[in-house]
Symmetry: C2
Subunit: 813 residues, 2 copies
């Protein structure tokens, strides 16, 4: 631990006023938790002034208020551009109190004015039906981190600081939150922050000692271990501790000056062109009592400085009139008459302490990132198209083609500094390596001569922590920039709960007029279930889509482009979209290409369509609809069509491909959903449908159970069978291979009854041959590996690649 | 960093033999990755001896082999009971090689004998169709951690060590895995391990420097920071580093002796009754090259000691005949002729180095925990029943009643030391506080006088890290003990991916005869979506059930007991079950109680049933079926029935309650599923069904879309609407309240057409009254708060509480 600079001095007068400001914020916080009326305590406090249901979290609140007033002083003294990331989301009362004191709240919500009526409304609305949540929610100006689910504050703060060289993201981390895995990993984000280019993060670890009902680990560790831990994480920790405000105030002020000095020194050095080594950024460990300034004890039980302060220290006021007196004493201990004038406005000498305009942390535009968002300069994605003279005529690695496009997205926006790529050590594995032609992975530790694609100014963010990647990209997007997250499909479940919280945040923002739209959170999920035959069962899980579609339809989109050109069109689309979570699932292995760019664009615009060139029902009712979604299911469907057409030339097959999964839902459920009329036209109302789907088959039923022809829908997909095997064996184990699909058709088309036995035997034989072959050769049969789509000459296909969907439908709005 | 004890000496002869053993393991590892035939290289290596598809991860393997031979020496020298948790799961070849060398593999899999034929079979099966996975999978004897998804090795190791005082769980952690959040949090597990009662965990952090394509953070940090980090975590780290085996061997041997000495000293002190303070357990940081002993460079590119060694260093052997020569040289560099006899068996002087019998890490029974599993001594759960003289006559907090039962489960098994409770700081919040009458939270840090329910020998495991809780309980169960994990419903998504991996593990174990069944992983999800009105939107998410049902039906069970007595019956059941993941969702707030214990038992046995006492269709066809699953949906359904019966006395309503959600699926899909005949009897084949479900409504459609009456099924549930509000407002926002349910019935029963307009207006008025009331009072209307079930006198109900399900069905086998 270092000593703070000794020469720093804040006048006693200023500290006194800051303490008054803190008292005001604490008063306003307690008021929010308890009071319906009598906000200034002008009359004796009675039960009817008190909320019937007491909700809120007092414990963390006074500490947050304390930090806030000190940051305000720092901002004023140095004209700082700072945001406040509030890890203890339960500290909503503190953030609301400060927002009100700074005048911001009344600007955003004029009915909560800066006077007695406004104060009463501020109190009443808190955790009250029709009011505001108890957390630092989207409704709270100045916030980008809700904090309801703990662990993400610090990665959000780093995400905000990247590419914002003049921003300081001050991040308060509760000692409860500090026990979570995502937080424990996020401390290492300092290895990825470049002081020449990025802003600063100032972590304040708030040790108030207790969780809901337990001490915290970090607060009980020996101090030397605590300091070693954070020095080991690469920080320079400063302790600020005490129970007595008159001691803690000057200490906090001088330590904050010290931290700012160090931040400026680091940045100055880095920006003056000196060779960089990763600096030891300062951080603060603030140890103050839980529920500081609240009741020392209640009913004889220790309360201040203990976990009993966590939520509402005084409860059941109707049954305990004595508690009403205690509450009144508690509120009066802040001496509101010295803080607010007769009209209830904070006194001018307090208001003076708040920064002005956008310097207020509650009104910093970085916390409403849509205000700062600039469109990406996107090259024309059509220029990256794979030449597809005929369906199946060439092979390509879809995500490599996408990476080629993203390279130029990156290049075009290098000067805007507003685009980054995120992923857990998988950018190259996922075939985006072309991006390394224009930028590198960011890396602030030592770089060795043999290292490749590592640089201090890289824009590819790789850490083997999906949590940290997710937190970074969320922070980056919410502060008005763009990004893409690529991940192995199975392991994106690691951030299921973070996705939940982000989707909830976006849904809520859609209902808040002053929240400007931000860039969508874009996922590429690759190394997917069907091509993890080499990595085995633990790497095979396509369930993230199921998880995603539980969230509000208005914020989620799911795309399953079947080849490279459709992937390009979808990529361009998602980079232009706002306020969504876009999930794209696409393979990285060399696969057959089906659509030229024109056809791909039309197909993606429609989101779903008949592939005329693969169908032979032209102008007639088909015997069967073969639908597919996902690259491997598309391949197997087409191979099944080939098999069936050879064996049963008269069979009329309609081939349908789905890119935008949400098209399957009724349009009453999802804005992208097809109208019943359009759905029925595609799927018929009475013909059997054999649907090969990328993920768990029940999802297709879930999306389509209201459709007319649902009773005839038969879905194949992943049924949780897998191990280390071959690609084709993976589909066979799950009955979604060409032969099983063909058998499904044979079973379902009544007029094939006569051929059934013969064909089914042929299929069984083929599957047995497959088993024998791979068991002896360890790879798939040549007839599988070398299968290609044999129909149509190049000329006629050019026309036939067009999509048959009578009315142009919107591309995933 | 401490110095190793100076006086320890391993003879040069022994070190030489250990090095030979290591060479043998490395040879066998390379052989598995590459060879189909010619296992002993008796003839020149040719392309046809080599697998056509090269799969596997060489990079981490030699390090694992190195550690293994050293642990074997330690086990032999001190007769240790040790298991090996292999974090780098990709190091499968190493674990398989050692298992074969120890003879275990041939005992479990006789066709993989300890000779040339066996060696060939060992090589061939690796990552080969019909063979074994490339990871340390359930198929691998000695394993309890697959390692395919990274981050869980250390919490598994601690889980294994709890209550196993004579076990040492040696845990190798890769430096990639060390970047993950779950791992970063798990280091703090040392604050919960009691050396007097528990075994030891010896972490070996293996810094091989690189991930797939990147350096690792921990390997590139300055050494002083690295050591500070782990000292800060509370360990005593010892460095073992080098490239040259002749230097690293003696260092590793002496450091291991040092660590064992320290472990023994800690345990001796703790067990001789000295007052405990949390000790600084030793750990090893081993820094050796990635792909150690492999090709130094390939095609002019650095390979050994670099990320290019991660998977298969020499690739495309068909195209590069030169690589075949390199491979042969590499294999021969281990001098196989000095390691194996002419028949291919390892030489006796090598075999001597392996421990014998259960001392072999590959055959330690703790890694096949079912062998050690003893049943819990369960008290009769009926003794904890809530007295329910009539449905709705009393209120109770269901999870508190459960906690009362669990207290005695804990008490009855204190001497067996095989039951623990896990959860993130929520045991008291979730109303299990009765457990604290017989045990405390375990806590090895300082305990202050004001602390409550903290003790060094506590059996309640609380850390604010769902990941660590999940890892601990998995490790505890897989080594043959019992546990229960309680969690806020919304935040259990944090461990979605860990659940996935555990469910996959269990499914695979079901197919391995020698894997003995282990106790089920039991979740209580409470503080659920409908009673998080006070904590707001971020705390409202019932989607874990959807996630769970994607996994194999044979390993997952979901229960939604509607009251305390049904919760007791379900709790007893899950504690007796084996090899499942049981998810129980139940509320903790005071709620109406419906069933006395007899009725509850019958209801839970059936899993689903008509509630005769709430229905008025006796003996007749109903007009409508009102189904419900979950405590709050049950309450709202019964209140809707009350409303409808008052307004429409002639309406015939059948009330159906679902406890075991899997009953809804066809029995072809889930072993608990109802036969169609039984389903149709309950739900009718043609009457409208209004189903109030706890979670996202689509799940009910997904489970029932094949049922005859599915077209008439209308489901209400959570539709992702919520904020901080009142309990009743939560159900209103999601249209699952009594009034919406009543309106749904009115809309669907044709003969109510005449009453519809009048009743719908009454319902609208009631909902408007509700809105107004809560907006002014901040709590629910008295008519909502005080509603109770008004029908039937106590006498006749006693009979009517019986469940009408003609044939007794199995209780969730």
């Amino acid at each position: 631990m270092e000593q703070a600079k000794q020469d720093f001095f804040v006048s006693a007068e200023l500290l006194e006023r800051m303490n008054a400001y803190w008292r005001a914020a604490n008063y306003l916080s307690v008021g929010q938790i308890y009071l319906l009326d009598n906000p200034l305590l002008k009359e004796p406090l009675k039960l009817e002034h008190i909320k019937p249901r007491l909700l809120g979290h007092w414990g963390t609140t006074p500490g947050l208020n304390f930090i806030h007033v000190h940051l305000n002083r720092l901002i004023n003294a140095h004209n700082l551009n700072m945001i406040f990331i509030c890890g203890p989301g339960h500290g909503g009362p503190a953030m609301l109190a400060n927002c009100w004191l700074e005048g911001t709240y009344s600007e955003y919500y004029p009915h909560i004015s800066l006077n007695k009526e406004g104060m009463k409304a501020l109190f009443r609305q808190f955790s009250f039906p029709g009011g505001v949540p108890s957390h630092v929610a989207p409704e709270t100006p100045g916030s980008i981190n809700e904090g309801g689910e703990l662990g993400y504050a610090l990665s959000h703060a780093y995400g905000a600081a990247f590419d914002n060289p003049y921003l300081i993201a001050c991040c308060v981390i509760g000692d409860g939150e500090a026990e979570t895995g995502p937080m424990a990993a996020a401390w290492h984000s300092n290895k990825f922050l470049n002081p020449a280019r990025d802003g600063a993060v100032l972590p304040i670890l708030h040790l108030n000692g207790y969780k809901i009902a337990n001490p915290t680990i970090l607060a009980r560790m020996e101090e030397d271990e605590l300091l070693q831990l954070f020095e080991g994480y690469g920080y320079r920790p400063y302790l600020v501790e005490g129970n007595e405000p008159e001691i803690v105030h000057p200490r906090m002020a001088s330590i904050l000056e010290q931290c700012l000095d160090e931040i400026k020194a680091i940045q100055h050095k880095a920006r003056s062109g000196e060779a960089l080594i990763r600096p030891h950024w300062p951080m603060i460990i603030m140890r103050t009592p839980k529920g500081w300034t609240g009741p020392k004890s209640v009913d004889g039980k220790k309360t201040e400085g203990f976990w009993r302060s966590h939520q509402v220290p005084l409860e059941k006021l109707a049954e305990n009139p004595d508690h009403i007196n205690l509450l009144e004493q508690w509120l009066k201990s802040y001496r509101p008459e010295e803080l607010f004038d007769a009209q209830g406005a904070p006194l001018p000498e307090l208001l003076e302490l708040a920064p002005k305009g956008h310097l207020r942390m509650s009104d910093n535009p970085h916390a409403n990132g849509g205000l700062l968002l600039r469109d990406l300069r996107l090259p024309d994605f059509r220029n990256y198209a794979v030449e597809v003279p005929a369906p199946g005529a060439v092979e390509a690695e879809a995500t490599r083609v996408m990476g080629n496009f993203l390279r130029d997205v990156m290049k075009n926006n290098l000067d805007q500094q507003n685009f980054r790529i995120f992923g857990p050590d998988e950018t190259a594995s996922n075939r985006w390596s072309d991006i390394f032609e224009v930028t590198s992975r960011v890396w602030m530790e030592k770089i060795l001569p043999e290292d490749t694609n590592l640089a201090q100014d890289g824009r590819v963010m790789e850490i083997l922590s999906e949590h940290t990647c997710q937190g970074w990209i969320e922070g980056y997007l919410l502060t008005g920039r763009h990004g893409f997250f690529s991940c192995y499909e199975a392991f994106i479940h690691i951030v299921d709960s973070m996705f939940n919280q982000h989707a909830k945040w976006l849904k809520t923002c859609n209902r808040i007029p002053w929240r400007r739209p931000v860039a969508s959170l874009n996922y590429l999920l690759t190394s997917h279930v069907w091509r993890q035959d080499h990595n085995g069962f633990s790497h095979q899980d396509p369930g993230f889509i199921d998880h995603v579609v539980n969230k509000k339809a208005e914020v989620i989109r799911v795309f399953l482009p079947p080849d490279a050109n459709t992937l390009l069109a979808v990529t361009d689309h998602v980079l232009r979209s706002r306020n969504y979570v876009n999930v794209i699932v696409a393979g990285k292995q060399p696969e057959h290409q089906w659509l030229n760019m024109d056809a791909a664009m039309k197909h993606c615009e429609a989101g779903i369509g008949v592939w005329e060139w693969a169908s032979n029902d032209r102008g007639e009712e088909p015997d069967v609809v073969m639908a597919c979604a996902g690259d491997v299911p598309t391949l197997e469907t087409l191979a099944a069509v080939d098999f069936l057409r050879r064996q049963l030339p008269d069979l009329k097959i309609r081939v349908l491909n789905v890119v935008n999964l949400m098209k399957l839902q009724p349009n009453s459920e999802h804005p992208n959903g097809l109208k019943d009329r359009d759905f029925d036209e595609l799927f018929t109302t009475d013909k059997p449908i054999v649907f090969a789907y990328h993920g768990y088959p029940t999802l297709i039923h879930r999306l389509t159970y209201r459709r007319a022809n649902h009773a005839n829908l038969h879905v194949r997909g992943y049924k949780e069978e897998g191990t280390t095997s071959t690609p084709f064996d993976m589909v066979v184990m799950n009955d979604i291979d060409r032969y099983h699909l063909a058998a499904d058709v044979i079973d379902r088309v009544p007029r094939l009854k006569n051929n059934a036995a013969y064909l089914k035997q042929m299929i069984r034989d083929k599957l047995i041959d497959h088993k024998h072959y791979i068991a002896s050769h360890g790879e798939d049969m040549p007839e599988i590996q070398n299968w290609h789509w044999p129909y149509e000459a190049a000329e006629e296909v050019k026309k036939a690649q067009a999509i048959d969907i009578s009315e142009a439908m919107e591309f995933g709005e």
